[in-house]
């Protein structure tokens, strides 16, 4: 019997899991995918927004501003990267200036720090490649960019270090409640008993709710967003995160410098029925290209190394839907987490635990909780002295596997052997950046496959790219000696 089962290992589920492990509780996190961070947390803009945009008084506004502040602490505690590059919201007409000014008022009301209005000259001085039609800019210096993969992994690894149990490749198929005990049945036929459930299943929160509620109070309306990734060698054409003036439809198409030097261009915004449809479309990409070009015409689209699509778990409830079920006691929904979900994630976790759970449960502190987590110290990020020491200790640091991102064999072996193991090609990319560079794995993929096979003691034909069934090598053509 668990005290808590958390369904979903995205950035929100893992943040809640970590927050819960600060207390003396037993908890299990269940994820249907073969890794943490495989859906909305995987594919998004990676921005820690300042909190200027959500409507004042909403959970989005409150948790965004607080989450932004919390990231500053977590940078060190969880060893996650933060690019503190600030953001500009760019107005290009009188009408937009008017909306920009009310956005500024909103930012102040939400408690966003240090924001100000810049005139054209100042804006162009600080961001020379801005479209020269710019008339006014809202400067948001607290806007940051993080690495959502690392944030999610950090949460999960730290929570597991502190006692969380984790089952991946396990889909919840049925939930029943008798007396005060839930029975959660999974795809592998196991029945897990728990006193409480936290539904953090992202785009599938509605599916989970429908397993136990007669009348769920929210409905998920998945919304896709397409992106271009620009090679890190082209970095510097824009330094701030750039937003257009927001409209009814959302924050619009952005230009976002990334922590490792790439630049993201996107997202588009279209509703779709299938929460798992992540295809790229000609239409979507051409909208993104057109939209982003309004911010600057200096985007090097000839340096695109990848395109991708993310699906936001938007809901019919416009704000985040974070509350205990009205029908089923001890079932907490954390649903409708679209933008600014990544920014708010650490604050969502605190809100769920401190406000919702503590309202009717006494939680005792976990005396052995260790808040600190160290990420993989990648060879490429070491000083010369550290490199010498690391190589002496492990000569596999001399074997460069990914030459674009300079990832060594030892880095990859570490990634494979973390407490949340990277055991797919994509899993390795998420943890070490092998394959994230300009040749997109053309050079290193075969080596990565062999390392996974060796470390996991399985045939290379069983190594998968991403999810189950995504094998890369079909069969052997030679009998191995």
């Amino acid at each position: 019997m668990y005290d808590y089962i958390i369904i979903g290992a995205g950035v929100v589920g893992t943040a809640i899991a970590r927050e819960l492990m600060k207390y003396d509780v037993s908890a299990l996190m269940i994820e249907k995918e073969n890794d943490v961070c495989n859906h909305a947390s995987l594919a998004n803009s990676a921005i820690v927004h300042s909190g200027h945009d959500p409507k004042p008084g909403t959970l989005k506004a409150k948790l965004n501003v607080e989450g932004n502040r919390l990231y500053e602490e977590l940078e060190d505690t969880l060893d996650i990267p933060l690019l503190k590059n600030g953001a500009f919201v760019v107005a290009q007409s009188e009408a937009e200036e008017k909306r920009l000014k009310s956005l500024y008022e909103r930012a102040l009301e939400n408690g966003v720090k240090d924001c100000s209005i810049l005139d054209r000259e100042e804006a162009l001085k600080r961001e020379p490649n801005l479209n020269s039609k710019v008339t006014m800019v809202l400067d948001l210096p607290t806007t940051k960019v993080t690495y959502p993969w690392e944030v999610t992994l950090a949460n999960a690894e730290n929570a597991i270090e502190n006692g969380l149990e984790f089952k991946k490749s396990t889909e919840v198929t049925q939930i029943e409640k008798t007396d005060d005990v839930f029975t959660v049945t999974t795809s592998e036929g196991t029945h897990y008993k728990t006193r409480s459930i936290i539904n953090a299943a992202g785009a599938f929160t509605g599916v989970i709710a429908a397993m136990i509620e007669e009348h769920p109070k929210f409905e998920i309306t998945p919304r896709r967003g397409e992106y271009f990734v620009i090679d890190r060698h082209a970095k510097g054409f824009i330094n701030h995160t750039l937003y257009p003036v927001p409209s009814e439809k959302g924050k619009g198409i952005l230009i976002v410098p990334q922590v490792h030097g790439e630049t993201l261009i996107g997202p588009s915004s279209e509703f779709q029925d299938d929460p798992e449809n992540i295809d790229n479309t000609k239409d979507g990409l051409s909208k993104v290209r057109k939209g982003a070009t309004k911010l600057t015409d200096k985007i090097p689209f000839n340096k695109v190394i990848r395109t991708f699509t993310g699906v936001r778990a938007s809901s019919t409830h416009k704000d985040f839907f974070i509350q205990e079920s009205e029908e089923v006691k001890n079932l907490i929904h954390v649903a409708g987490i679209d933008s600014p979900g990544l920014s708010a994630a650490p604050a969502i976790a605190k809100y769920v635990v401190n406000t919702l759970i503590k309202a009717n449960t006494d939680l005792r502190d976990n005396p052995s909780f260790n808040p600190r987590r160290k990420g993989i110290k990648l060879f490429n990020q070491m000083t010369d002295e550290e490199k010498k020491e690391a190589f002496r200790y492990d000569p596999r640091h001399g074997n460069l596997i990914c030459k674009c991102e300079k990832v060594t064999e030892a880095d990859i072996v570490h990634a494979i052997n973390r407490n949340v193991p990277g055991d797919t090609v994509k899993g390795i990319k998420k943890r070490s950046r092998a394959g994230a560079g300009i040749c997109q794995g053309g050079y290193c993929e075969h080596n990565v496959i062999h390392l996974i096979a060796r470390e996991k003691n399985k045939p290379v034909t069983k190594v998968e790219y991403y999810d189950e069934g995504s094998y890369i090598l079909k069969s052997e053509t030679k009998v191995k000696q």
């Binding site: 992540i278 790229n280 479309t281 699509t309 030459k403 674009c404 300009i438 998968e464």
Partner: protein, 419 residues
């Protein structure tokens, strides 16, 4: 560790450069990231190599072995399983950061460098193919490596996008391995591969070639399940109503090769937007004194034989630079690609160097059965040469005599198609 010359990459280019740069008085190091020399030739087990250079038909590995044998007794240092990470230049000395499991990450210095690091394959992301993003879509060269070097087949039903030579070679190779090869699509109205490859790899195996076609959709959640092929109009937009679906588990991409010069994080040199490689003069020297480039790291060649030929010259030039304490000159004449020419190499002529003639390598941008190449300097036509059956896939060469160059004005070359 100080060297006169460090050669980066031991494929066809590096081997030829080494052989020709060699002099007993020079201290030379060749760095190769794989276990043995030979580069991509090692995975090209088909024949057709060596016709120009050795006057006989060899397979890729045979061609590689000939090269390796020609340098193995030279008194030079060859460091394999070593990867170059970064290069910087300080006070006319190059500091080359490299790594291997023996010495870890370390720096070696040299007076000059020959960059012969080959090229990498353009990816799906770079050409922004629409559709689902499952496993099973990969560059043809990767599939070739898996099959020929490691003994793994990447799929059982395959379609190929792009009629570059690797795509054509892999169409035949996978067919021979028992795979269903359903077709090759090429967005251009003509093939991008050598004619002999179209005949020997597609026609001989009844593999259809779809010209003016591209992939308009990709299906599959985890592993590729199918693709949609569409015809394109003259502006390369897909034409509605021409869609054909194919159920395949593999899509190989043969959509271009790009010189691999990405190990330069700290040293910049002039590059060409057309070749994606360095800008060089007729000695294959880049804009950085003492830095030479050749082979597919400079521009992508059709044949290994041409890589060898070019790299021999680059090797000789590096040797001359070292023996004569050569310096980078400043009086250059620009060479420009004009009408119907994609690019021309070299991009500059160093007029202070002694030379009688220079071989220009270039590609046309349009197909022409009959036509003429015209070379201009300023307003003056200085040379012309008739041409037959010219296609973008095949590199053209012209020898330009120095005596024809009268002024310091830029020289341009164009292709006039005879109607």
């Amino acid at each position: 560790m100080n060297y006169d010359l460090i050669i980066i990459g031991g494929g066809a280019a590096g081997i030829a450069a080494l052989k020709n740069a060699y002099d007993p008085s020079l201290n030379i190091l060749l760095v190769e990231r794989e276990k043995s020399l030979g580069g991509i030739l090692k995975q090209c087990i088909h024949n057709g190599f060596g016709v120009h250079h050795y006057n006989e038909e060899l397979t890729g590995p045979e061609y590689a072995v000939r090269g390796i044998e020609s340098v193995e007794n030279l008194d030079v240092e060859i460091l394999t399983e070593t990867t170059v990470i970064d290069i910087e230049k300080k006070d006319s000395v190059f500091n080359i950061r490299m790594t291997n499991t023996h010495d870890g990450e370390h720096t070696r210095s040299s007076k000059s460098i020959i960059l012969s690091s080959g090229c990498y394959e353009r990816t799906r992301g770079a050409i922004q193919l629409p559709g689902d993003r499952p496993a099973g879509i990969m560059p043809a060269g990767s599939a070739q490596r898996y099959l020929n070097m490691e003994g793994y087949l990447v799929g059982k039903k395959v379609f190929i996008l792009g009629s570059g030579d690797i795509g054509l070679i892999m169409a035949r190779r996978m067919k021979l391995e028992g795979t269903d090869v359903l077709g090759v699509a090429e967005i251009m109205p003509y093939s991008n591969g050598l004619t002999r490859n179209i005949v020997q790899c597609l026609h001989d195996f009844d593999i259809p070639l779809y010209l003016s076609h591209t992939i308009s959709d990709i299906r599959g959640k985890s592993r590729l399940e199918g693709i949609t092929l569409s015809e394109v109009d003259e502006e390369f937009n897909t034409i509605e109503g021409t869609e054909k679906d194919f159920d395949v588990d593999t899509l190989l991409l043969s959509v271009g090769l790009i010189p691999d010069i990405n190990m330069f994080e700290s040293l910049s040199f002039e590059t060409s937007k057309k070749t994606n490689g360095a800008v060089v003069d007729q000695t294959y020297q880049t804009s950085v004194e003492g830095l030479f480039a050749c082979g597919n790291a400079l521009h992508v060649h059709d044949l290994a034989d041409f890589v060898t030929e070019e790299s021999e010259k680059a090797g000789k030039a590096a040797k001359t630079f070292l023996m004569e304490n050569g310096q980078k000159n400043t009086s250059f004449i620009d060479l420009e690609a004009s009408n119907n020419i994609g690019y021309v190499l070299p991009q500059k002529l160093d007029m202070d160097q002694p030379f009688d003639s220079v071989e220009l390598s270039f590609r046309v941008t349009t197909k022409g059965d009959k036509g003429v190449f015209v070379i201009h300097q300023g307003d003056q036509e200085i040379m012309s040469k008739k041409a037959r059956f010219v296609v973008p896939a095949e590199m053209e060469k012209i020898t330009l005599k120095r005596e024809l160059i009268d002024t310091t004005e830029p020289i341009s070359i164009r292709f006039e198609v005879t109607k």
